[in-house]
């Protein structure tokens, strides 16, 4: 049983990323379960996807303290899901903060560096990805999800290889989005090998 959790803000594309992980696992003949946040929270609220790979999952939700990997689409959401990470589990986190609208209203943004420092102290396998830079390279902020998959797969913290993720993307994504997403996958992987790994 492998548990992967994806945490972000509504609109960041966690649902697609979790589908890709689940489908890549199924291509290997494994069974997969996912649970998504759909509804009001998709308008800028906190969203979490749970992916459970293997036969022995009863619950659709990952119990606390049992996630093998948490992929944080932004620092505060990664911290929010830390209680789900198992001891010795890995975290892949995009360093770019998504400030809630309430923050710009009140003029007090949350401290992203503080969140990252908190994670550094508590997570032994923490892989930070400069999500902003990767998206800039790809020319779209919409590909952060696939870029983070690239980083996670390259770092070896997903229960599948980068190649398997790539094959799944080729198979499942519509033709017109393919080249941009493959570029993002490569850029995400590159961000890990490129020495941005901490």
């Amino acid at each position: 049983m492998k548990n992967c959790m994806l945490a972000g803000v509504g609109g960041q594309g966690t649902v697609l990323a979790s589908k890709i992980i689940a489908q890549a696992a199924m291509k290997e003949g494994l069974s997969a379960h996912t649970a998504e946040t759909i509804g009001m929270a998709q308008r800028g609220g906190c969203v979490v996807s749970h992916v459970r790979i293997g036969e022995d999952a009863f619950s659709p939700l990952i119990p606390k303290g049992t996630a093998d990997v948490v992929i944080g689409f932004e620092p505060a959401e990664a911290v929010r899901c830390l209680p789900y990470l198992k001891e010795g589990g890995a975290m892949v986190v995009s360093t770019k903060a998504v400030q809630p609208v309430t923050a710009s209203l009140s003029g007090c943004s949350y401290d992203a560096q503080g969140m990252l420092a908190f994670l550094k102290e508590r997570v032994n396998r923490l892989i930070l990805v400069d999500g902003e830079e990767v998206c800039r390279q790809c020319g779209s902020a919409k590909v952060l999800n696939v870029a983070l998959l690239g980083a996670a797969a390259k770092a070896g913290v997903l229960p599948m290889t980068l190649k398997q993720i790539e094959d799944t993307i080729r198979e499942k994504l519509p033709e017109r989005f393919l080249s941009m997403n493959l570029k993002a996958l490569a850029a995400g992987a590159e961000a890990v090998t490129g020495g941005k790994m901490q």
Partner: protein
């Protein structure tokens, strides 16, 4: 056959197709929406699929199809069943010929709903059988069973999945076979006409059927009793999955009763579970339905078994369950030590209330009404849809929200008690058709002054952009005649009906001022499509030289594309939809964009 990753709702839709469903209708509502959409997407061509105008219409249309011998499915969320409860209660007496399954999705939490009501009560209330799947896999099988039971007993049947089953995905082996059903057609018979005498006779039949169904369900394949010992756990729906996961974590296997048909209760099976037990812990979401059934059975059969759950304070009585909550409840039930949390406390985290999308036309509509009413006494009644999010600051433009269509009528009651306030009622296009129109007629008829603001974004946005009577599209794809909102309002006697583009703030504010000055019912229809059904315009940007940092744009609009950086406003280009409203609000002309 290859396994596919399917969502619970897709599994229900595909399972219905496999069971030979011929007629599917419903009204969108989280977490039920994707069921009907799945049938439409995989329609082999001979299934009639429609989004109905509301749940009552859907329930009645489905009943008609089932009278004529087709297998019919109607889908809705839990609060939708309140709207459809009138036909439901009568239909329980009349029954059906073809199988009819009413799929009602409950939302423990609630995650995206206005109530935490429990549809299993509706099953008891209407005396209809209800199926409660534990997982997408089981839901796929159960929908077929539900049709079979419906035909066997000639009664509509409820299938009640909950959010975690609806929106969970599983890898399921799909067989593409399809049951062939050829409807016999409608045979005229007095049994289709409800009359007091018929009701009395059928009431007796329905009561006589209850224990027969309970007996039948005692051997139903998804109800099961396993394990042994003096302590037992009973669970239904997704809570059974949480309980099993928690038991696996702690390596315990007490006697276990998985309840897949909470009504009529499978009494014989339940007695075999209760036999020899001292204590039972019940795990279920929403209301203590299984718990009460077990308490009742213990009383009826003089069993010395202590039943624990919500009624005794042993489990939470609101919100959704989880493996963690099941784990804690089972540990104290079995007398095991609680797991200690090794987690250090987290730093304080930002709250993220959901907000209207960047570029959402509703933001401009709310802003225009607010600007037009500045300094005046006004109350803003809201309704159900994305525009409920207009309550968030800085707009703060939803003073009341109750249920579908209630904004129009609540405004009237408010106005009769406080006539010196201008009473606005905001309603979306889909909600207007759903239950809004009678409320407007009520105001016209009783001559109550309200200003109706129709937020027409040409779609049912919150549930994922379904067509409705005003869009000219149906679920069968063909273009039907559009129902014109202004035409409807004119026809029911609203004297002043104006249309305005909310993204043109000046004109929008003027339209609101004019409507507010009218005696009687007046209406402004703000027409501007949801950003999800239209192409983005060129993005806007802030000229850092001209921006004085007054933050007026942020303070008044709260568009999520605008962020504050070093006391200057910045527009995040990846999020901006180019609606131009911020540029119209900035007093220094600092925000510009390419001309649209």
């Amino acid at each position: 056959m290859a396994k596919q990753l399917v969502m619970g709702n897709e599994a229900i839709g595909l399972g219905a197709l496999r069971a030979g469903v011929g007629f599917v209708c419903g009204y969108p509502g989280t977490p039920s929406t994707e069921i009907l959409e799945t049938v439409a997407k995989h329609n082999p061509g001979d299934v009639y699929v429609e989004w109905s105008v509301n749940e009552k219409a859907a329930m009645e249309a489905a009943a008609g199809a089932a009278y004529a011998g087709a297998r019919a499915m109607v889908t809705m969320k839990q609060v939708g069943l309140n709207v459809a409860s009138d036909p439901l209660m009568s239909l329980a007496y009349i029954g059906v010929k073809g199988g009819m399954v009413i799929v009602v999705a409950d939302d423990p939490g609630p995650i995206s709903s206005q109530t935490e009501q429990d549809t299993r009560h509706f099953a008891r209330f209407s005396k209809l059988p209800v199926f409660d799947p534990v997982s997408p896999e089981e839901a796929f099988e159960m929908i077929g069973d539900a049709f079979d039971y419906s035909e066997k007993y000639q009664t509509p049947v409820l299938l009640r999945p909950t959010t975690r089953v609806c929106h969970g995905c599983a890898s399921i082996e799909m067989d593409q076979s399809r049951k062939k059903i050829t409807p016999e057609g409608f045979l005229k018979d007095s049994k289709w006409v409800i009359f007091p005498r018929l009701t009395y006779q059928n009431h007796k039949k329905v009561e006589a059927r209850q224990p027969v169904l309970g007996e039948d369900f005692s051997s139903y394949r998804f109800n099961e009793v396993t394990g042994g010992g003096k302590k037992g756990i009973a669970a239904g729906g997704v809570s059974a999955a949480y309980a099993k996961e928690a038991l696996a974590q702690m390596g315990e296997c007490p006697k276990f009763f998985k309840v897949a048909t909470p009504h009529p209760f499978p009494e014989r099976l339940a007695l075999s579970f209760l036999e020899g037990l001292d204590e039972v812990l019940v795990l279920e979401e929403l209301d203590p339905v299984i718990e009460r059934e077990l308490v009742y059975l213990c009383g009826k059969h003089h069993l010395p078994v202590k039943i624990m759950g919500k009624l005794t304070g042993h489990t939470q009585n609101a919100g959704e369950n989880s493996t963690e909550s099941a784990n804690a409840a089972i540990r104290s039930f079995l007398g095991l030590l609680q797991e200690e949390s090794k987690q250090a406390p987290l730093p304080s985290l930002p709250v993220r209330p959901p907000v209207l999308c960047a570029g959402c036309p509703h933001r401009a509509s709310f802003y225009a009404v607010k600007a037009a009413m500045k300094g005046k006494k006004a109350v803003f009644s809201g309704d159900i849809g994305c525009y409920t999010l207009g309550n968030a600051s800085p707009l703060d433009m939803v003073d009341t929200c109750l249920c579908m269509g209630a904004g129009v009528t609540v405004a009237q009651g408010l106005h009769r008690i406080e006539p010196d306030a201008v009473n606005f009622a905001f309603i979306g296009d889909s909600t207007f058709f759903h239950t809004g129109i009678p409320g407007v007629i009520n105001a016209v008829y009783n001559e109550t002054d309200i200003v109706l603001i129709v937020l027409d974004n040409a779609t049912t946005a919150m549930t994922g952009h379904q067509p409705h009577p005003g869009t000219g599209k149906t679920m069968m794809g063909e273009i039907s005649q559009k129902v014109d909102i202004a035409g409807v309002l004119g026809a029911i006697g609203v004297g002043h009906v104006a249309k305005a583009d909310p993204l043109d703030l000046k004109a929008a504010v003027a339209a609101v001022k004019e409507a507010a000055a009218v005696k009687g019912v007046s209406a402004v229809i703000f027409e501007s499509p949801c950003i999800a059904v239209t192409k983005p315009g060129p993005t806007y940007a802030v000229d850092a030289e001209k921006c004085t940092g007054c933050k007026r744009c942020i303070r008044e609009l709260g568009c999520p594309a605008m962020v504050l950086e070093n006391n200057k406003v910045k527009i995040e280009p990846s999020m901006c939809y180019g609606c131009s409203v911020c540029a119209q609000v900035c007093p220094f002309g600092a925000i510009g964009g390419e001309a649209k």
